[in-house]
Protein backbone atom coordinates (compact mmCIF):
# COMPACT_ATOMS: atom_id res chain seq x y z
CA UNK A 1 0.00 0.00 0.00
CA UNK A 2 1.55 3.30 -0.98
CA UNK A 3 0.99 6.62 0.71
CA UNK A 4 -1.93 7.69 -1.38
CA UNK A 5 -3.76 4.41 -0.90
CA UNK A 6 -3.08 4.75 2.82
CA UNK A 7 -4.52 8.23 2.82
CA UNK A 8 -7.62 7.06 1.01
CA UNK A 9 -8.08 4.09 3.31
CA UNK A 10 -7.80 6.41 6.29
CA UNK A 11 -10.06 9.08 4.82
CA UNK A 12 -12.73 6.47 4.13
CA UNK A 13 -12.74 5.05 7.66
CA UNK A 14 -15.82 5.89 9.75
CA UNK A 15 -14.03 7.96 12.42
CA UNK A 16 -12.40 10.24 9.86
CA UNK A 17 -15.49 10.59 7.69
CA UNK A 18 -17.49 11.63 10.72
CA UNK A 19 -14.72 13.98 11.79
CA UNK A 20 -15.11 15.70 8.41
CA UNK A 21 -18.87 15.71 8.88
CA UNK A 22 -18.44 17.44 12.23
CA UNK A 23 -16.26 20.10 10.64
CA UNK A 24 -18.79 20.55 7.86
CA UNK A 25 -21.69 20.91 10.27
CA UNK A 26 -20.00 23.91 11.88
CA UNK A 27 -19.01 25.45 8.55
CA UNK A 28 -22.60 25.15 7.32
CA UNK A 29 -23.89 26.54 10.63
CA UNK A 30 -26.27 23.64 11.13
CA UNK A 31 -26.80 24.23 14.82
CA UNK A 32 -25.75 20.68 15.63
CA UNK A 33 -24.24 20.54 19.08
CA UNK A 34 -23.28 17.69 21.35
CA UNK A 35 -23.58 18.82 24.94
CA UNK A 36 -20.50 18.95 27.13
CA UNK A 37 -21.48 15.95 29.32
CA UNK A 38 -21.50 13.79 26.20
CA UNK A 39 -17.99 14.95 25.34
CA UNK A 40 -16.79 14.15 28.85
CA UNK A 41 -18.46 10.74 28.90
CA UNK A 42 -17.00 9.73 25.54
CA UNK A 43 -13.52 10.99 26.40
CA UNK A 44 -13.61 9.14 29.71
CA UNK A 45 -14.73 5.97 27.99
CA UNK A 46 -11.94 6.11 25.41
CA UNK A 47 -9.21 6.72 27.98
CA UNK A 48 -10.56 4.00 30.27
CA UNK A 49 -10.83 1.49 27.46
CA UNK A 50 -7.42 2.11 25.99
CA UNK A 51 -5.71 2.26 29.35
CA UNK A 52 -7.41 -0.88 30.58
CA UNK A 53 -6.52 -2.91 27.52
CA UNK A 54 -2.94 -1.63 27.71
CA UNK A 55 -2.73 -2.59 31.36
CA UNK A 56 -3.88 -6.13 30.69
CA UNK A 57 -1.18 -6.39 28.02
CA UNK A 58 1.38 -4.81 30.32
CA UNK A 59 0.80 -7.43 32.99
CA UNK A 60 1.34 -10.12 30.41
CA UNK A 61 4.37 -8.74 28.63
CA UNK A 62 6.16 -7.77 31.82
CA UNK A 63 8.25 -4.72 32.64
CA UNK A 64 11.40 -5.93 30.96
CA UNK A 65 10.01 -5.19 27.51
CA UNK A 66 8.51 -1.89 28.46
CA UNK A 67 11.12 0.15 30.18
CA UNK A 68 13.26 0.91 27.12
CA UNK A 69 10.52 2.29 24.89
CA UNK A 70 8.95 3.89 27.96
CA UNK A 71 12.17 5.71 28.68
CA UNK A 72 12.41 6.72 25.03
CA UNK A 73 8.91 8.19 25.26
CA UNK A 74 9.77 10.21 28.35
CA UNK A 75 12.98 11.48 26.79
CA UNK A 76 11.21 12.44 23.59
CA UNK A 77 8.62 14.32 25.64
CA UNK A 78 11.37 16.21 27.46
CA UNK A 79 13.43 17.04 24.38
CA UNK A 80 10.76 18.09 21.88
CA UNK A 81 9.99 21.36 23.72
CA UNK A 82 13.72 22.12 23.84
CA UNK A 83 14.04 22.30 20.10
CA UNK A 84 10.57 23.69 19.50
CA UNK A 85 11.30 26.66 21.72
CA UNK A 86 14.07 28.23 19.59
CA UNK A 87 12.08 27.53 16.42
CA UNK A 88 9.07 29.26 17.92
CA UNK A 89 11.17 32.19 19.12
CA UNK A 90 13.16 32.81 15.96
CA UNK A 91 11.13 31.53 13.06
CA UNK A 92 7.59 31.94 14.38
CA UNK A 93 8.60 35.04 16.37
CA UNK A 94 6.59 34.37 19.47
CA UNK A 95 7.32 36.00 22.81
CA UNK A 96 9.33 33.84 25.24
CA UNK A 97 6.35 32.82 27.33
CA UNK A 98 4.17 32.04 24.31
CA UNK A 99 6.98 30.02 22.78
CA UNK A 100 7.37 28.02 25.97
CA UNK A 101 3.65 27.32 26.16
CA UNK A 102 3.35 26.21 22.54
CA UNK A 103 6.49 24.08 22.88
CA UNK A 104 4.93 22.25 25.82
CA UNK A 105 1.87 21.37 23.74
CA UNK A 106 3.91 19.78 20.96
CA UNK A 107 6.04 17.80 23.37
CA UNK A 108 2.96 16.44 25.10
CA UNK A 109 0.55 14.08 23.34
CA UNK A 110 -3.03 13.72 22.14
CA UNK A 111 -4.76 10.56 23.32
CA UNK A 112 -7.37 10.74 20.58
CA UNK A 113 -4.74 10.91 17.85
CA UNK A 114 -3.13 7.87 19.41
CA UNK A 115 -6.45 6.02 19.51
CA UNK A 116 -7.07 6.85 15.87
CA UNK A 117 -3.61 5.49 15.05
CA UNK A 118 -4.28 2.24 16.89
CA UNK A 119 -7.51 1.99 14.98
CA UNK A 120 -5.63 2.54 11.74
CA UNK A 121 -3.29 -0.36 12.53
CA UNK A 122 -6.19 -2.58 13.49
CA UNK A 123 -7.91 -1.83 10.20
CA UNK A 124 -4.75 -2.80 8.32
CA UNK A 125 -4.27 -5.81 10.63
CA UNK A 126 -0.76 -4.66 11.49
CA UNK A 127 0.60 -6.04 14.78
CA UNK A 128 1.92 -3.68 17.45
CA UNK A 129 2.86 -3.87 21.11
CA UNK A 130 -0.53 -4.05 22.87
CA UNK A 131 0.87 -2.23 25.90
CA UNK A 132 1.67 0.83 23.79
CA UNK A 133 -0.85 2.94 25.67
CA UNK A 134 1.65 2.92 28.52
CA UNK A 135 3.88 5.12 26.35
CA UNK A 136 0.96 7.44 25.81
CA UNK A 137 0.48 7.66 29.55
CA UNK A 138 4.08 8.50 30.40
CA UNK A 139 4.53 10.95 27.55
CA UNK A 140 1.83 13.38 28.56
CA UNK A 141 3.46 15.09 31.55
CA UNK A 142 7.21 15.56 30.92
CA UNK A 143 6.81 18.16 28.19
CA UNK A 144 4.45 20.15 30.36
CA UNK A 145 7.02 20.37 33.13
CA UNK A 146 9.77 21.30 30.67
CA UNK A 147 7.54 23.92 29.06
CA UNK A 148 6.73 25.60 32.37
CA UNK A 149 10.41 25.50 33.26
CA UNK A 150 11.31 27.16 29.96
CA UNK A 151 8.66 29.82 30.42
CA UNK A 152 9.69 30.66 33.94
CA UNK A 153 13.42 30.58 33.26
CA UNK A 154 13.13 32.95 30.34
CA UNK A 155 10.77 35.28 32.14
CA UNK A 156 11.76 35.13 35.79
CA UNK A 157 9.25 37.71 36.90
CA UNK A 158 6.46 35.56 35.44
CA UNK A 159 6.73 33.03 38.22
CA UNK A 160 6.40 35.74 40.81
CA UNK A 161 3.60 37.63 39.06
CA UNK A 162 1.04 34.90 39.32
CA UNK A 163 0.99 31.38 38.09
CA UNK A 164 0.96 28.47 40.45
CA UNK A 165 3.78 27.58 42.83
CA UNK A 166 5.88 24.66 41.63
CA UNK A 167 4.21 22.11 43.85
CA UNK A 168 0.93 22.82 42.13
CA UNK A 169 2.50 22.88 38.68
CA UNK A 170 3.74 19.35 39.25
CA UNK A 171 0.35 18.32 40.59
CA UNK A 172 -1.29 19.72 37.48
CA UNK A 173 1.21 18.02 35.17
CA UNK A 174 1.31 14.64 36.87
CA UNK A 175 -2.28 14.39 38.06
CA UNK A 176 -4.21 16.12 35.34
CA UNK A 177 -7.40 14.28 34.57
CA UNK A 178 -6.21 12.44 31.48
CA UNK A 179 -2.85 11.42 32.93
CA UNK A 180 -4.51 10.09 36.04
CA UNK A 181 -7.24 8.28 34.14
CA UNK A 182 -4.78 6.63 31.78
CA UNK A 183 -2.35 5.59 34.48
CA UNK A 184 -5.23 4.44 36.67
CA UNK A 185 -6.82 2.40 33.91
CA UNK A 186 -3.42 0.88 33.09
CA UNK A 187 -3.05 -0.16 36.71
CA UNK A 188 -6.64 -1.45 36.71
CA UNK A 189 -5.94 -3.55 33.64
CA UNK A 190 -2.76 -4.92 35.18
CA UNK A 191 -4.68 -5.85 38.32
CA UNK A 192 -7.76 -7.34 36.67
CA UNK A 193 -5.90 -9.21 33.93
CA UNK A 194 -7.35 -11.22 31.08
CA UNK A 195 -10.33 -12.29 33.13
CA UNK A 196 -11.38 -8.74 33.77
CA UNK A 197 -10.94 -7.93 30.10
CA UNK A 198 -13.10 -10.89 29.15
CA UNK A 199 -15.88 -9.69 31.46
CA UNK A 200 -15.94 -6.14 30.09
CA UNK A 201 -15.30 -6.98 26.44
CA UNK A 202 -18.88 -6.14 25.47
CA UNK A 203 -18.32 -2.60 26.68
CA UNK A 204 -14.65 -1.78 26.25
CA UNK A 205 -13.94 -3.69 23.04
CA UNK A 206 -17.01 -4.40 20.90
CA UNK A 207 -18.40 -0.86 20.59
CA UNK A 208 -14.99 0.84 20.75
CA UNK A 209 -14.63 1.83 17.14
CA UNK A 210 -18.16 3.13 16.98
CA UNK A 211 -17.68 5.26 20.07
CA UNK A 212 -14.48 6.60 18.54
CA UNK A 213 -16.50 7.49 15.45
CA UNK A 214 -19.04 9.43 17.49
CA UNK A 215 -16.28 11.12 19.43
CA UNK A 216 -14.43 12.22 16.31
CA UNK A 217 -17.71 13.61 15.01
CA UNK A 218 -17.79 15.80 18.10
CA UNK A 219 -14.07 16.60 17.77
CA UNK A 220 -14.75 17.79 14.24
CA UNK A 221 -17.18 20.34 15.62
CA UNK A 222 -14.81 21.31 18.42
CA UNK A 223 -11.94 21.83 15.97
CA UNK A 224 -14.06 23.70 13.46
CA UNK A 225 -15.32 26.12 16.10
CA UNK A 226 -11.70 27.25 16.46
CA UNK A 227 -11.13 27.69 12.73
CA UNK A 228 -12.30 31.28 13.00
CA UNK A 229 -9.31 32.06 15.19
CA UNK A 230 -6.86 30.98 12.52
CA UNK A 231 -6.46 34.53 11.25
CA UNK A 232 -5.44 35.60 14.74
CA UNK A 233 -2.48 33.25 14.99
CA UNK A 234 -0.55 34.11 11.86
CA UNK A 235 0.75 32.06 8.97
CA UNK A 236 4.00 31.25 10.67
CA UNK A 237 2.37 29.41 13.53
CA UNK A 238 0.09 27.57 11.12
CA UNK A 239 3.14 26.42 9.18
CA UNK A 240 4.74 25.33 12.45
CA UNK A 241 1.62 23.30 13.27
CA UNK A 242 1.89 21.46 9.96
CA UNK A 243 5.65 20.99 9.62
CA UNK A 244 6.72 20.13 13.15
CA UNK A 245 4.41 17.10 13.44
CA UNK A 246 6.09 15.63 10.36
CA UNK A 247 9.54 16.21 11.85
CA UNK A 248 8.44 14.72 15.16
CA UNK A 249 6.72 11.82 13.44
CA UNK A 250 9.98 10.90 11.73
CA UNK A 251 11.99 11.30 14.92
CA UNK A 252 9.47 9.23 16.85
CA UNK A 253 9.47 6.35 14.37
CA UNK A 254 13.27 6.19 14.55
CA UNK A 255 13.32 6.48 18.33
CA UNK A 256 10.71 3.76 18.64
CA UNK A 257 12.70 1.48 16.40
CA UNK A 258 15.92 1.95 18.34
CA UNK A 259 14.06 1.44 21.60
CA UNK A 260 13.24 -2.03 20.34
CA UNK A 261 9.67 -1.66 19.15
CA UNK A 262 8.15 -3.52 16.24
CA UNK A 263 7.43 -1.46 13.10
CA UNK A 264 3.81 -1.07 14.26
CA UNK A 265 4.96 0.09 17.68
CA UNK A 266 7.51 2.46 16.14
CA UNK A 267 4.72 3.97 14.05
CA UNK A 268 2.70 4.55 17.23
CA UNK A 269 5.73 6.20 18.86
CA UNK A 270 5.97 8.43 15.78
CA UNK A 271 2.30 9.35 16.14
CA UNK A 272 2.79 10.20 19.80
CA UNK A 273 5.74 12.44 19.01
CA UNK A 274 3.83 14.11 16.19
CA UNK A 275 0.67 14.68 18.16
CA UNK A 276 0.06 17.73 20.30
CA UNK A 277 -1.93 17.87 23.51
CA UNK A 278 -5.22 19.76 23.55
CA UNK A 279 -6.53 19.02 27.04
CA UNK A 280 -3.79 18.37 29.56
CA UNK A 281 -1.32 20.92 28.20
CA UNK A 282 -3.76 23.84 27.77
CA UNK A 283 -5.13 23.31 31.25
CA UNK A 284 -1.65 23.18 32.77
CA UNK A 285 -0.38 26.20 30.79
CA UNK A 286 -3.40 28.29 31.67
CA UNK A 287 -2.67 27.82 35.34
CA UNK A 288 1.12 27.68 35.29
CA UNK A 289 1.98 30.22 32.58
CA UNK A 290 -1.09 32.44 32.64
CA UNK A 291 0.73 35.18 30.72
CA UNK A 292 0.82 33.01 27.60
CA UNK A 293 -1.93 33.66 25.08
CA UNK A 294 -4.28 30.66 24.95
CA UNK A 295 -5.59 31.55 21.50
CA UNK A 296 -2.18 30.78 20.04
CA UNK A 297 -1.72 27.31 21.44
CA UNK A 298 -5.34 26.19 21.34
CA UNK A 299 -5.81 27.20 17.74
CA UNK A 300 -2.53 25.72 16.55
CA UNK A 301 -3.20 22.45 18.27
CA UNK A 302 -6.94 22.04 17.69
CA UNK A 303 -7.50 23.73 14.36
CA UNK A 304 -4.22 22.83 12.62
CA UNK A 305 -2.27 19.94 14.05
CA UNK A 306 -5.06 17.66 15.24
CA UNK A 307 -6.98 17.69 11.93
CA UNK A 308 -3.75 17.29 9.97
CA UNK A 309 -2.60 14.35 12.04
CA UNK A 310 -5.80 12.32 11.93
CA UNK A 311 -6.32 12.79 8.20
CA UNK A 312 -2.98 13.02 6.37
CA UNK A 313 -0.51 12.55 9.18
CA UNK A 314 -1.34 8.97 10.12
CA UNK A 315 -0.81 7.54 6.63
CA UNK A 316 2.34 9.61 6.30
CA UNK A 317 3.94 8.35 9.50
CA UNK A 318 2.87 4.87 8.51
CA UNK A 319 4.70 5.18 5.21
CA UNK A 320 7.81 6.42 7.00
CA UNK A 321 7.74 3.34 9.21
CA UNK A 322 7.12 1.14 6.19
CA UNK A 323 9.96 2.59 4.13
CA UNK A 324 12.53 2.71 6.88
CA UNK A 325 11.68 -0.34 8.92
CA UNK A 326 9.94 -2.61 6.42
CA UNK A 327 7.82 -5.54 7.40
CA UNK A 328 4.55 -3.62 7.09
CA UNK A 329 1.83 -4.35 4.56
Amino acid sequence: MDWWEGVLANLASPPIVFFALGVLSVLLRTDLRLPEPVYTALATYLLMAIGFKGGVALAESGWSQVWRPGLAAVLLGCCIPLWCYPVLRRLVRLSPVDAAAVAAHYGSVSAVTFVAAVNYLNELRVPYEPHASAFLAVMESPAIVVGVLLGRLTQPQAAAEGGLPWRQVLHEALLGRSVFLLLGALAAGAICGARGEEATRGFFVAPFQGVLTLFLFEMGMVAARRLGELRRVGLRLIAFGLVMPMVHGAVGVVAGHFAGLSPGGAFLMGVLAASASYIAAPAAMRLSLPQANPTLYLTAVLAVTFPFNVTLGLPLYYQLARWWLGGLP
Binding site: R33, E36, R225, R286, P290
Partner: protein, 100 residues
Protein backbone atom coordinates in the same frame (compact mmCIF):
# COMPACT_ATOMS: atom_id res chain seq x y z
CA UNK B 1 -40.63 41.02 56.47
CA UNK B 2 -37.41 42.77 57.31
CA UNK B 3 -34.63 42.22 54.79
CA UNK B 4 -31.01 43.34 55.07
CA UNK B 5 -28.79 44.93 52.44
CA UNK B 6 -25.89 42.86 51.18
CA UNK B 7 -23.69 42.73 48.11
CA UNK B 8 -23.83 40.01 45.50
CA UNK B 9 -20.42 39.69 43.86
CA UNK B 10 -20.51 37.89 40.50
CA UNK B 11 -17.48 36.50 38.70
CA UNK B 12 -17.78 35.08 35.17
CA UNK B 13 -14.57 33.35 34.22
CA UNK B 14 -13.03 30.47 32.30
CA UNK B 15 -13.76 27.11 33.91
CA UNK B 16 -10.04 26.44 34.32
CA UNK B 17 -9.92 29.20 36.90
CA UNK B 18 -12.34 27.31 39.11
CA UNK B 19 -9.88 26.08 41.71
CA UNK B 20 -7.87 29.33 42.07
CA UNK B 21 -11.10 31.34 42.27
CA UNK B 22 -12.67 29.18 44.95
CA UNK B 23 -9.41 29.27 46.92
CA UNK B 24 -9.32 33.04 46.69
CA UNK B 25 -12.92 33.26 47.90
CA UNK B 26 -12.27 30.91 50.78
CA UNK B 27 -9.22 32.86 51.87
CA UNK B 28 -11.49 35.91 52.13
CA UNK B 29 -13.81 34.23 54.56
CA UNK B 30 -16.68 33.84 52.12
CA UNK B 31 -19.20 31.46 53.72
CA UNK B 32 -20.87 30.12 50.64
CA UNK B 33 -21.09 30.41 46.90
CA UNK B 34 -23.28 29.32 44.02
CA UNK B 35 -21.73 28.14 40.75
CA UNK B 36 -23.33 28.01 37.28
CA UNK B 37 -21.96 26.33 34.17
CA UNK B 38 -22.28 28.95 31.42
CA UNK B 39 -21.28 29.76 27.90
CA UNK B 40 -20.00 33.15 26.89
CA UNK B 41 -18.28 35.50 24.54
CA UNK B 42 -16.10 38.42 25.46
CA UNK B 43 -12.90 40.20 24.63
CA UNK B 44 -10.98 36.94 24.81
CA UNK B 45 -13.04 35.06 22.26
CA UNK B 46 -15.92 32.62 22.34
CA UNK B 47 -16.18 30.03 25.05
CA UNK B 48 -18.65 27.49 23.76
CA UNK B 49 -19.66 24.87 26.31
CA UNK B 50 -18.34 21.96 24.27
CA UNK B 51 -15.32 21.00 26.37
CA UNK B 52 -15.72 21.60 30.07
CA UNK B 53 -12.22 22.98 30.49
CA UNK B 54 -12.73 25.66 27.86
CA UNK B 55 -16.21 26.74 28.91
CA UNK B 56 -17.08 29.42 31.44
CA UNK B 57 -18.41 29.33 34.95
CA UNK B 58 -20.29 32.01 36.84
CA UNK B 59 -19.75 32.17 40.59
CA UNK B 60 -21.96 34.27 42.84
CA UNK B 61 -21.29 35.12 46.47
CA UNK B 62 -23.35 37.18 48.86
CA UNK B 63 -21.27 39.11 51.37
CA UNK B 64 -21.55 42.21 53.57
CA UNK B 65 -20.55 45.44 51.82
CA UNK B 66 -17.21 45.65 53.58
CA UNK B 67 -16.22 42.15 52.57
CA UNK B 68 -17.36 42.89 49.04
CA UNK B 69 -14.96 45.83 48.85
CA UNK B 70 -12.01 43.80 50.01
CA UNK B 71 -12.92 40.91 47.76
CA UNK B 72 -13.28 43.06 44.68
CA UNK B 73 -9.95 44.70 45.45
CA UNK B 74 -8.28 41.32 45.72
CA UNK B 75 -9.93 40.02 42.55
CA UNK B 76 -8.80 43.12 40.72
CA UNK B 77 -5.23 42.71 41.84
CA UNK B 78 -4.67 38.95 41.72
CA UNK B 79 -7.38 37.35 39.62
CA UNK B 80 -8.33 39.61 36.73
CA UNK B 81 -4.79 40.01 35.36
CA UNK B 82 -4.45 36.28 34.89
CA UNK B 83 -7.78 34.92 33.79
CA UNK B 84 -10.44 35.74 31.21
CA UNK B 85 -13.03 37.07 33.61
CA UNK B 86 -15.41 39.88 34.50
CA UNK B 87 -16.49 40.94 37.97
CA UNK B 88 -19.52 42.94 39.01
CA UNK B 89 -21.44 43.79 42.13
CA UNK B 90 -25.21 44.00 42.68
CA UNK B 91 -27.10 45.33 45.67
CA UNK B 92 -29.43 42.71 47.13
CA UNK B 93 -31.62 42.29 50.21
CA UNK B 94 -31.31 39.07 52.17
CA UNK B 95 -33.17 37.23 54.88
CA UNK B 96 -31.14 36.00 57.87
CA UNK B 97 -28.13 38.33 57.49
CA UNK B 98 -26.13 36.40 60.08
CA UNK B 99 -25.52 33.70 57.44
CA UNK B 100 -23.39 35.82 55.15
Amino acid sequence: MKTHPMKLVTVVCEALARVPLLQLLKSHGVHGYTLFPVEGTGARGERPADIEEFANIQVEVIVPAAVADALVEKLHRDFLPQFAAIVYVTAVEVLRPEKF
